[in-house]
Homo-oligomer: 455 residues x 2
């Protein structure tokens, strides 16, 4: 493989890392369950041409490529396999263009989500997708996983904000998909095929993203419930009432406790807390939240509170966003990601309580109630192999529960290297065969991210 | 082929049409330019199982299948090729389920768009995609072409309203894509790959569609301009101001004249007319339209008028929706479909005036200004071969103009059998090769809709 390393060094002005101590942090993402191994090298290209050179060289030598952004993923999709080249896009981090008159931006894949948000906000514009890791995850990773976030209930997921891509194919050729216009149906929708393909079909080197007008400052509602089922019923009823909040999150008792301890605050919450925002502005926001408040009261909320104070709203969101970090006071966390029909949220939460009791581990349920995407998070002692095994068992039982409730095994984190068998269960043999056929058509030698998504 | 016909008759309880007089209307859609030929047979299955039987039988006999809905298409994608079997989905026309609590509907492909709209409106819900032919086109055709309409500026195109599909593959097997949940990233986005694939990859037999809350009754604004360029500038400025109307249509002088003659009314319009609606309701709608009105006045509108009267708003929309029919007083029409960046609309309109003068034919420009999707419509005498040739030349020159302005050759009508060479120009050789690879992976023998989209 020395010949390959020589070629890579020549193509990348020496920016090829091979020292195992230096490449160590590039071996895995944030998912502790997923397998990972020692790469041959880590490369950090700075241009599309360099990416093409890497792909061609690795193709010629039969060495697999694992594309990777910041490594904030939660499925092991960016984890190294033995002897691979990890292709890191973080040095391709330029916002190339912001076009306010056509409401679009053109970016390189290594741009951090928050940096893009800041760059377009200056123009009164808004890039909706906001995964929890928005202050360090990259757009390239967001595209590869079709990332979601708190905004999705109103603004959709990443794929809903992408107009076009530039992708380096397994042949090293450059494919341009999509367009710069709002609409377009010329040919197959290759853009949305690559979005969410987890680096298995090519390397995204550029994206044209659709922007929205910056919404109004949000008004915020919180509602506390004595019974989790009542909070779930309130969510379904909000949907039924035709309200589309800009955010609607749920935290269960375990999440509330962890956050109260971590932030040293009192959330005044009982068994379950709903946090809901409207960014419709003024009278309309007030009307929307009044409907949500009435629904919560009717569903049995023990307390509701509405504020138009931005700082107060931000604090409440900080509480929601702190759950995973807060859980670290109890041990390591392992977060799951199922999405169920919005009418089944309460059943998911009570099912997780049952699983928690079964395995004897704390499971905190937090999630995007507005679209049914829940993140039951298992807390375990990483030094105990037995606890780790039980955590894995709980993780799988939550997936089975999600499927049984008519849901999916992943709402936004992806399949990666931890849910391959579950993907096969969800989509069945015909679906799996179609996946393999498409993969084989675009990447016949299995150059990109082998072993991710499906075997 | 008698053996195939016998198999089809057995599978379809005799519902197999072969008499050329009877099959004649199934030979083509609404695009006069596209080639079409005599099918071997036309079949009208009533179930997924019957579709599977047709696909298996045709596959075994090597006879191609052209899937078709109501035939309202404008690209020849549903046109018969010689000796094919036309598979018509109009008898699979049941709304199988409306689930208000999860805001979704499950439908068969032959459901007429308007029938679905009516079925969900009873539940206070809204299915946005509204192609001009919404009162007779089918959801299956909408899915196959990724149809748009007047709603797209705010609510997106068909693909934005699809959660999952059931598709009969070339093998006759049934593929289920997507899910019933709002979010989901389990595997490749096969749903959005089939949407807009124009019947070249499989036959859609069922769809799970996302619904929205029924919007408020719309308020309507019209603005008349002495200069087309001013109307174009106003559109770009509305985008810049961060307003997202629920509809923003443009009509040029030729469209206005035709409609005034056809409807025997006076639209009080000069060179160009903008029609804009807000369905945000009450104060917000008034505020949005006030911004649009101010923008129009600043851009040089000679007249603006705002109304909250529903009947008046409906009349104005009827004028817009009547353009194609109205043009028939002058001859046959041939409508094009380019989408350009919203800042280039005025250039497209003035370019069409130039092309009109060049070829000596009336070209009316009408379109969805809010998303840059314009339908320059060429009027010609169908009894004159020379005029038909000039119409075809104008059609192609408009496509070249759209591409030169940074746009796409089709915003919502599709490629079909009339824009194959233009697709190749737009996406280039690498894009075309990827299309062929995906087609070959899913339909290796070329069973479905041969010669559509690409050769």
């Amino acid at each position: 493989m020395e010949a390959l390393l020589t070629e890579l060094r020549a193509a990348l002005d020496g920016a090829v890392l091979t020292d195992p101590d230096v490449t160590y942090p590039y071996r895995h993402d944030m998912m502790p369950l997923a397998p990972h191994d020692q790469p041959l090298a880590v490369v950090l290209p700075t241009s599309t041409e360099q990416v093409q050179a890497v792909v061609r060289a690795c193709g010629a030598h039969g060495v697999p490529i694992v594309p990777r952004g910041a490594g904030s993923g939660l499925s092991g999709a960016a984890n190294a396999v033995a002897g691979c080249v990890v292709l890191v896009t973080t040095k391709m981090n330029h916002v190339l263009e912001v076009d306010p008159d056509n409401r679009l931006a053109v970016v390189e894949p290594g741009v951090v989500n928050l940096d893009l948000r800041d760059a377009v906000e200056k123009h009164g514009l808004f890039y909706p997708p906001d995964p929890s890791s928005y202050d360090w995850c990259t757009i390239g990773g967001n595209l590869a996983t079709n990332a979601g976030g708190l905004c999705c209930v109103k603004y959709g997921v990443t794929t809903d904000s992408v107009l076009g891509l530039e992708v380096v194919l397994a042949s090293g050729e450059l494919l341009r998909t999509g367009r710069r216009t709002v609409k377009g149906v010329a040919g197959y929708d290759l853009t949305k095929l690559f979005v969410g393909s987890e680096g298995t079909l090519g390397v995204i080197t550029r994206a044209t993203l659709a922007l929205r007008p910056l919404p109004q400052a949000p008004a915020t509602l919180v509602a506390s419930f004595d019974r989790t089922a009542d909070a779930g019923a309130a969510v379904a009823r909000v949907v039924r009432e035709g309200v589309v909040p800009s955010l609607m999150e749920i935290m269960d008792r375990a999440s509330i406790e962890a956050v109260e301890r971590y932030l040293k605050t009192d959330l005044n919450a009982d068994e379950a807390l709903l946090v809901c925002q409207s960014d419709a502005g003024g009278e309309v926001a007030r009307r929307e939240l009044a409907v949500v408040e009435q629904v919560c009261v009717d569903a049995g909320a023990s307390l509701t509170y509405v504020t138009e104070d931005l700082a107060e709203g931000r604090d409440l969101l900080t509480a929601r966003r702190s759950v995973l970090t807060a859980l670290e006071v109890y041990g390591a966390w392992l977060t799951d990601d199922v999405c169920v029909p919005r009418t089944r949220i309460a059943e998911l939460i009570t099912g997780c309580e049952r699983i928690s009791a079964d395995v004897g581990l704390r499971i905190a349920v937090v999630g995007h109630a507005g679209d049914g995407n829940m993140h039951p998070t298992i807390v375990y002692d990483p030094s105990s192999a037995a606890e780790f095994d039980r955590a894995r068992r709980a993780f799988d039982e939550i997936l089975a529960l999600g499927l049984a409730l008519g849901g999916t095994i992943t709402g936004e984190h992806g399949v990666g290297k931890i849910k391959r068998e579950w993907l096969a269960k969800e989509i069945g043999p015909v679906g799996l065969r179609v996946h393999r056929e498409i993969k084989h058509a675009l990447d016949p030698t299995g150059l990109f991210n082998p072993g991710s998504m499906f075997a």
